[in-house]
């Protein structure tokens, strides 16, 4: 089966610009996660969707980050305006309801903010 698809793989922007990342989860996976992985740190959960509803966005900086999953399939994460500290890899993951804790991760989108 196809894995979790993410794009773009790399993005370089100036601070205060905006950027959007796209994720297409594995077919049939109702749960979708966005994680932020800063260099040298473990992934940090930004937002969790169940179908098209938000389950947890407690660590999403809502003044600049937004995410949506309109039809319960693919998802978009947007940053506007970007700050230097947003430089990180943004990982999308999905999970089938029956598979406890087994997240399938995409290869990530690496963002560099100059």
């Amino acid at each position: 089966e196809a894995g979790v698809a993410q794009s773009p793989r790399y993005k370089i922007i100036e601070k205060r610009q905006s950027v959007a990342f796209w994720c297409n989860p594995i077919s049939g996976h109702a749960t979708l996660y966005w994680y932020q992985q800063i260099l040298g740190q473990g992934p940090k959960l930004l937002i969790q969707f169940q179908n098209n509803g938000v389950v947890d966005d407690s660590q999403l900086p809502k003044d600049r980050f937004s995410a949506e999953r309109l039809k319960g399939v693919d998802s978009t994460l947007k940053i506007q305006p970007a700050k230097l500290e947003d430089s990180a890899v943004y990982l999308c993951a999905s999970r089938h309801f029956a598979n406890t804790g087994e997240l399938f991760f995409g290869e990530g989108s690496r963002l560099t903010v100059l």
Partner: protein
């Protein structure tokens, strides 16, 4: 809230030697525990998980881990490593809330295999 501490940021090991990567967790409720591996320029992949039952769990690529509730640990082991095991390893914890797991990851341990 749950948290995870990975005690070693880097572990160099000679090829065919055994390895142990250490993980301690903190939680006031029952938990699920996981080890994920990240190869260079790839996403994370599940190695193994502890949900309940036997405290010794076996995963892919010959890895195993033991859940120790009294020491709040979940160390990862392999009796003989191979060059292909070079990667970053992440321990993760989740409240045992089936169907709504929220994984909290540690900072990772970079395993380097020396030929």
């Amino acid at each position: 809230a749950q948290s995870v501490t990975q005690l070693d940021s880097q572990v160099p090991v000679f090829e065919e030697a055994p390895v142990e990567l250490r993980c301690n967790y903190s939680s006031s409720v029952s938990v699920y525990l996981f080890w994920y591996v990240q190869y260079p320029n790839q996403g994370l992949q599940l190695l193994l998980k502890y949900l309940s039952g036997s405290t010794l769990v076996k995963g892919i690529n010959g890895f195993e881990a033991e859940f120790n509730k009294s020491q709040t640990s979940f160390h990862l082991r392999k009796p003989s490593v191979h060059i292909s095991d070079t990667a970053e390893y992440f321990c993760a914890v989740s409240r045992s809330n089936f169907g709504n797991e929220k994984l909290t990851f540690g900072t990772g341990t970079r395993l380097t295999i020396i030929p």
